[in-house]
Symmetry: C2
Subunit: 707 residues, 2 copies
């Protein structure tokens, strides 16, 4: 709150001059500085706010901060050391069972883990590799004996481990990996083998240097049958760090970011491990080679095993949101201090945030960051429900998967966009490493393709929408959509759903009536919901047209709508964000705070609609007149929120030790004050040279009088 308090005295009071269209719902306009920051912070930090505050307190420690000048090798060593600090502080064991020193606290674990991004994203992700992937695989895919043997070493970092799933040839399509684990009955061992270069494991954190063991995913083959992908615990290096026999690898070297992590490749040449190294919770092989599993369907078994990966997606959604707030905090604090160009006053330049374009660049994105935060928090609650066992039916798990597949792409892409825009909004200062934004962006870049490529995840959401829509449409069986269902539903959408939209479409040209309509949450909900349903129905009709055709024909038809399917999945994610945002608004008790939060939710909603205006108008959801009035209303919303921008971004609770940015200090305000005082003093002393333009004007006037 430091920067805000200092600026509060001279904060602009734009909101008092509001357009008439809001006067009726908010007769008493909130004053900047009057928001209930503590309540906002609780809402932003979610159900595990205390775990996050603990993590944030820890990450104030300079030992956990990134030093951007370190070369790759030194950065890797530093981050390994930082993992040790986490262990010392018991910061990474919340998710593990109490008997191993953990807390059985899944939600709090992820919440706390995500905020490590404030120290260094490499630290966050390397911790994620060690505890969220390697140790978690032992925990979730192994059974009691495995836990006893391997969890302690994984937890206390005495055995750094790699999570060997991805291969050079297969990332998101895990089912197609090439590594094999063939059971040798005579020896009672599995033989782990890499048959070709494309099956080399790749991009694995801890693989290049530090890993002593790996949880290796491979096709389990016994008695001539491939039972699909299973996970094996495989020691890979000896005490001296040398590869064990049959194991080789390569260093991935420098990357676009996250260079504190030693990503690398691994390959296996007929490497033998005991039968009991199979992490056998969901599939086991008896001594005689007989395979058994508690889950009969190979497909469901595969997705259950992979389901443990969802925590990565949840944590990335949260971490990306934290990064968005970091960038916004810096750019908004700077935008409140920096002045540039004389617009309204020849004596004093304009504050950047008073420019409309600057408001649209930053306040719009602040609204979206709030949406990201609320949606990520709801995702985390659902995750905790499933992993704690409180709500872990098949339906719950599927719901969680879909939610994560919708929220993670949006939150991570939004973070990259926000970091870029905030960097540009600070000009050259934004490009300096001392202001951290470019490095943060570089590190987060890969968040959009790892732990599930965003475009692939959105297709999962899209397929789920189609499934839900038709109730007959199977995961890959695109032909199952009946024409009947599609035809019915398309009609239904035109008839119902948009009652509000249809009923009040004649605003008689009144911008005020139009604005009142746009800010009605039922209208927003209808528009956002209907958009998803209508696009889904339209795509389903294409697929229904190839029902019963060959796989190739069905795939070709599907491919003609792939781009739109991904779009509708994004739209669904935006709807989920809107719903989470609206619940957060409704839960807010303080009236001023709720009013401002409502404006912010409206800004989020209307920006989303503005981006898809063509579809909305062309498909009759918005009249042309309303569409034309939307931009002005969005502009005014951003302007109305502008005096609250710093307060709203500070509510996220980042402290100077988290920010570590020049632009978030008072440095620019001090420079502005110094320059202003210098000019004032010179004018007062009569030392200011006259401007040539003024001299010329005076001379001209003199000549005029003479002539």
């Amino acid at each position: 709150m430091t920067v805000h308090e200092k600026l509060a005295a001279e904060a602009p009071r734009h909101a008092t001059d509001v357009p008439s269209d809001v006067a009726e719902i908010a007769p008493e306009h909130p004053e900047p500085g009057s928001l209930d920051s503590a309540a906002l912070q609780d809402a932003l930090l979610g159900a595990w706010a205390e775990d996050r505050r603990t993590a944030r307190a820890l990450v104030r420690d300079p030992r956990l901060h990134r030093d951007p000048l370190l070369g790759m090798d030194e950065h890797r060593e530093r981050v390994l050391g930082q993992l040790g600090v986490l262990v010392e502080n018991g910061a990474v064991h919340r998710m593990f069972p109490k008997e191993f020193g953990g807390d059985d606290n899944h939600g709090g674990n992820i919440a706390a883990f995500a905020d490590l991004v404030l120290g260094d994203p490499s630290l966050q992700i390397k911790a994620g590799v060690q505890w969220g992937l390697f140790a978690a695989a032992i925990l979730h895919l192994g059974t009691e004996e495995h836990h006893r043997r391997w969890l302690p070493g994984a937890m206390d970092l005495s055995v750094p481990g790699a999570f060997a799933m991805t291969e050079i040839g297969h990332g998101s399509d895990v089912a197609s990996i090439g590594t094999t684990a063939t059971y040798d009955e005579a020896a009672g061992e599995f033989v782990i083998h890499t048959p070709f270069k494309g099956a080399w494991k790749d991009y694995l954190g801890n693989a290049a240097l530090h890993g002593r063991a790996a949880t290796v995913f491979a096709q389990l083959i016994t008695k001539g049958v491939n039972h699909g992908v299973h996970c094996f615990y495989v020691p890979i290096r000896d005490e001296d760090g040398a590869f064990l026999p049959g194991i080789g690898g390569e260093d991935d070297g420098l990357k676009g970011g996250l260079n504190g992590i030693d990503n690398g490749r691994l390959h296996f040449d007929q490497v033998r491990v005991p039968r009991t190294n199979l992490l056998n919770r969901y599939g086991d092989v008896a001594e005689d080679g007989t395979y058994s599993s508690p889950i009969e369907s190979p497909g469901r078994r595969f997705f259950t095993m992979l389901g443990t990966l969802v925590q990565g997606r949840v944590s990335l959604s949260l971490a990306a949101t934290t990064a968005s707030f970091l960038g916004l905090h810096g750019a908004i604090a700077y935008g409140e201090q920096r002045r540039q160009f004389n617009a309204s006053d020849p004596e004093r330049e304009e504050v950047l945030l008073d420019y409309q374009n600057h408001q649209r660049r930053l306040v719009d994105r602040l609204a979206r960051a709030y949406a990201d935060a609320f949606a990520s928090n709801e995702l985390l609650e659902r995750f905790d429900g499933v992993f704690s066992g409180r709500a872990d039916s098949d339906a719950d798990r599927q719901e969680l998967e879909t939610l994560a597949a919708a929220i993670k792409p949006l939150a991570t892409w939004n973070a990259l966009d926000t970091l870029q825009e905030t960097r540009e909004a600070c000009g050259g200062a934004g490009f300096m490493a001392r202001n951290r934004i470019p490095q943060m962006r570089a590190d987060l870049d890969v968040y959009v393709t790892f732990e599930g490529d965003n475009n692939v995840l959105l297709q999962l959401v899209g397929k789920r929408l189609l499934t839900d829509y038709s109730h007959e449409f199977g995961r890959l069986n695109v032909g199952a959509v009946s024409r009947y269902v599609v035809a019915q539903a398309s009609d239904a959408i035109h008839r119902a759903g948009l009652h509000k939209a249809v009923q009040s479409v004649s605003d008689g040209g009144s911008e005020r009536r139009s604005a009142n309509w746009f800010k009605d949450p039922e209208v927003q909900r209808d528009l956002l919901t209907d958009r998803v349903r209508a696009k889904t129905a339209d795509i389903a009709s294409t697929l229904a047209g190839v029902r019963g055709k060959t796989q190739a024909e069905q795939a070709a038809a599907f491919n003609t709508r792939q781009h739109e399917l991904i779009e509708v999945a994004r739209n669904q994610g935006e709807l989920l964000q809107w719903e989470a945002f609206t619940r957060a608004v409704e839960a807010t008790r303080d009236e001023s705070t709720r009013t401002v939060l409502t404006w912010l939710r409206n800004l989020f909603a209307l920006r989303v609609l503005e981006e898809d205006l063509g579809w909305l108008v062309a498909h009759g959801r918005l009249s042309s007149q309303r569409a034309r009035s939307l931009r002005g209303y969005v502009n005014r919303l951003a302007e109305r929120l502008r005096p609250f921008a710093l307060e709203l971004v500070e509510a996220f609770g980042l402290e100077p030790e988290h920010l570590r940015m020049d632009i978030a200090t008072q440095a620019e305000a001090e420079r502005q004050a110094e320059a202003h005082a210098w000019f004032e003093a010179r004018r007062a002393a009569g030392e200011e040279p006259e401007d040539e333009k003024a001299v010329r004007a005076r001379e001209k006037a003199t000549r005029g009088r003479r002539g």
Copy 2:
């Protein structure tokens, strides 16, 4: 052409299966591999293709390549050494007068300079600082004696120099810089002084370490009058690299990119230079302190002096375009080889570029990169016209300024977007430094805010549009727009301009007729032109409403439309790109090549319209029915172009030594072939284990028969 030739044999032949709506204009569909690559390359490289080829040949030299593992200090030294290589090869002197060993070749100089980005963007920009800014200031702002004294040292790098214009407190608003140069009549010297911290020069290449002199911009004060910003030649370091008396500075340290350049700060404490160190082409001070200038108006004088900066904007447009092609070359080559997910064939995974979404990600951006190239080439020609003196009237110079202010923002933002999308399209591989895209993106990041912040430049374009529109609207005098002109023009736009659009709006629901309409270049031109005119008129009407009001009221009114003004400036840039693209299509002789280039231009145009669909429909420029058909047509265009994608990107002529990316080699194709052969061999030998799903299906069938 290597990758393409190797792949040509197995290239997909999607284009033979085209939708019926194109059959009539292109009865003979071009075959992939049939394009006139040489003609395409000539068109892409523009009027100074030979200078670019010379530069590209030079930049194949490994000494000029970036080593991404170097730390900041080593990188800076390497780049300084690279400048020496440029001097040795006479690669940077084309723009200078013949008497100093140059070539008087302005266009060729910028064309060649821009392609240095292929070696290392730091090399390009540091060369830009030395020759394009420091030496160019001596050349363009100095007179004969200055040329003789200082050009040789600047040209041969014996005097590395900084271009000291930007200050901590002022970037784009150069007129407001705080540094003063006060003439001391008694001593016959200028006193250069930094009055406060905000007036420290900042972000200057060569300032932190290597610079021996600087061209310093300061407010020229003599006889108590400030004559505005002028440029002075100021030695800053001695032979040992120590600051001269009164001069101090700071190292900017690590940045988000371009770390091969030693950016830094400079400040001056009453530093004295001889009167003759004023670069006095546009303004001089006599011994007695009398100021004189060949340009009477201080405003015009200022803009003339700054006009020499335009070459930076021209070169960034070209360099950014080259970077876009680099990313696209890698991602398209990889997208032709990489396979992922079994969609149409259970035995063989799909090639990435066969996915619709991948086409929309890459082919759309390839079309835009072509537009960037053609528009940048036209900008370069206009630049050469002005700087060679062939066409350098005031109107020419203004036209050049506006064109540069429109094209540079688009080309540089497009490059960042393209590099990001191509990196994501390659998944984890795209994030590896060995594939260069992330580092290239990091280096180019600052291109969008330096040499004129993109948002500021677009406002210049917007103001020019308003000026042109009203013929009465002055640069800052927003009140000068007459209501009359605005009212007339708005009507006129609705009556004329869109004749094609209005006349054929009833397609009777035929997608084919709609597609024919969209691909008509006159329709595209009308839509793109009218969009700019209508939005400009609308903004002008707001400004006309505050005619005669106070500066503050006018500024407030202007601010309510700032966001839209920047948008219309972008739209103007897109129109300029479309026109350049269309001229390039028309100049293409080979019929197949022209057909494919026409498709590409249509894709560019329709993507631009698709992004602004809401405006177009809400303002009656497109019927809802046409708007709904647009997406399908764009999808089909991208699909039709897909078989030509590699050929089109290779036509830009980047060779392996320029690309230096694993993804642009045959490595992935070889891995795919190896994996495929391994599975084939195992199947042939009967060694492939049976899939559990198949076993279960067989057992179920057996049970069924038994039952």
